[in-house]
């Protein structure tokens, strides 16, 4: 891990998707560390340093890649809590989802999402999308200052 690079938080319950995602990021040489949380509750615990993340060493992520369909607390609820909290409301959140349901799109933007990406079925397309995302949010975009 390179010093000074802030990590990416990937909230995703599906192991296959996690593997494909990591593979795609690796293929494109995104060097930021990727922390994976497996459901919404875990994601919230991670951010607010609760439960087993009470004493996590790292600082806050540079971006959250958020799946919408997750067990316990779903992605929209995570988005709502993040965007309404004083500490994380400036943290960029990009929704990564399989579905193109209009209601999800509308609600996500209502809640203040920074990006909404429908994962393509075709793998090369998927890799292309992840490359763009990772490159932009982890490298190009200037994140809000650390707290």
């Amino acid at each position: 891990m390179m010093a000074g690079l802030r990590h990416i938080l990937l909230a995703e319950d599906n192991a296959n998707d996690i593997e494909l995602m990591l593979s795609a990021l690796k293929t494109n040489h995104v060097l930021n560390e990727v922390v994976v949380t497996r459901d919404g509750a875990e994601t919230l615990d991670y951010l607010w340093r609760r439960g087993r993340y009470a004493d996590r060493p790292l600082g806050d992520p540079i971006v959250i890649f958020l799946d919408l369909k997750m067990p316990k607390v779903d992605g929209l609820e995570v988005l709502r809590q993040v965007k309404q909290s004083p500490e994380f409301r400036t943290l960029p959140v990009v929704v990564l989802t399989s579905s193109r349901e209009e209601q999800d799109l509308v609600r996500s933007y209502d809640l203040g999402v920074n990006g909404y990406v429908v994962k393509p079925v075709d793998f090369p397309e998927f890799v292309k999308a992840i490359t763009l995302l990772g490159g932009f949010w982890a490298v190009v975009n200037a994140p809000p200052p650390r707290r």
Binding site: S23, K69, E102, V121, F123
Partner: protein, 620 residues
Amino acid sequence: MRADQTVASAKPLARHSLRWRLPLLIETLIILVLVAFLGVAYREVKGNLWQSAATRAQAMADQLAGLLTQSVQQRLTEFRRVARQPAVRRLLRHPSDVAREEGQVSLATLTGNGPQRIDVWDTAGQCVVSLSLPPTASDLLPPSSAPSTSGVASLQRSHDVVFSESVVDILPEPAPDGRAATSQDRLGFLVVRRTITAAPTADVLNRLVGKGATIGVGNKTGDVWTDLTHAIEAPSINLGRLGLAEYSGSDGQRHLGSLADIRGTPWAVWVEFPHGVIFAPARAFLQRMVLMALGFVLVSGMVIAVVAARITTPLYELTKASEAIAGGEYSRRVAIRRRDEIGRLSVTFNAMAEQVESAQRGLEARVRERTANLEQAGQLLEQHVTELAAVNRELEAFSYSVSHDLRAPLRHITGFAKLLEQSESSSLGTEGRRYLTTMTEAATRMGRLVDDLLSFSRVGRTPLARAPVNLNHLVRDVHQEVTADLNGREVAWRFHDLPAVEGDRSMLRLVLLNLLSNAVKYSAGRPRAEIEIGTLPNGGAETVVFVRDNGAGFDMQYADKLFGVFQRLHSSDEFEGTGIGLANVRRIVQRHGGRTWADGRVDGGATFYFSLPNERTAAQ
């Protein structure tokens, strides 16, 4: 509400009620008959009175004329007797003072009822002697002129005194042979003038004709007339015609009278009655009759009122009861007091009211029942709506889950196939790599099918947002999108002017996008593709839009299959696609209340049509 109705209907009832109109009608008829009867009777009585007055006037006039004629003749006879006196003849033959005195004594034997003046004239026109009786009469009767013939002269007048003048011949004694002397032998004239007005005979005569009648005597020439007391005007009738006559007097009254001749004189006598006197009994009769009629009207009015009340009161009660029932008071009944037709009407009315009341009760019960049923139906409907909403929610959840859950595994298949290909490319043979490619393509295709299925479901579910849509703008917009993917192909577009329609803009855009991209897609094999968009000349209830191309066309035998879900007439190798586009077109157009159809020929191009109703009658 009910009280208002009663008040409102009571007012016209008072004016139009039979209670008042029936007695008034009968009473009016009675009065009319009485007036007609009185009129006829009055005329009859008047006619009779006139007739009897005429008869009376004629009889009296004739009678008086007879009396007066007789009286005049008697007086002439008397004058002739005096004229034959020797003393009177002597007076003319040997006029001397002695002879005058003797003559005056003889003349004085002529006695009359009133003042008179007697003159004796000789044939030479000399008044020999003159005598007034009483002596004051000379003032009343002025001296006369010398007479030339004997007879009764016209009446004369001096101031208010009217007098007669009779002249007889004074003849010599008859000859010894007995031949009577004639007027040629006369010695002179005896002239007697007597007042008529002062004669006491007036009273006698007036009594004779009776009260109310007026007598007039005068010359037939009309110059001097008297009522036997004073000088009067002659009646304004034709004095040359004897008998009945009528005239309007200076008092404005009509007078009826009769004129009779007094024979031997130039005089006539007139007896008359004023109409006022003649018809006085008729007026009295009329007064009595009117009084009696008034009494009769009064009594009959009371009787009619009582009788009419007996008839109309039950009718009035029936009317009030009917109004009460009409106003909703269904338990109202009328009392039955009689056994005649009205009594039977009351009985029938009560029976009818009974039926109305029971029918009303039945109706109310039915209304309650129906209301209950309706409420039940409403609840059922509400339940169905709730259920339907639940089903809809389930459907939403299903499609959400499908889109999400089906796509993820497909993505995993393609993803891991790729990873496999990358990591094991050296150990995989050509065959193995082809399998992996096929797997990836199949999964990708399935992903597209899932997407299409979801879009088709969305097209059916999303509510229509209806608004006026300018089809020209929409076509231009879609045209731009379609030409972006042409990859240098040449297409000749022909756009006709399209009307504005009413519908959901984004859905109609999808329709045009499908039709235009189909046209582009299926004309790909043509060196120069031609695409035309326009409307059919169908200015009626709907707008028909067509999209025509000169592309691959289709076999009309399968025209019905064109619009089915995932139905295709060409293989994916020829033209790519899943077969959802036209299904979406049909679904959207149907939801707008329109129709879709197509014309085509294999290799001869195709024309797709859709219609939209021009009025807002489309089902949602």
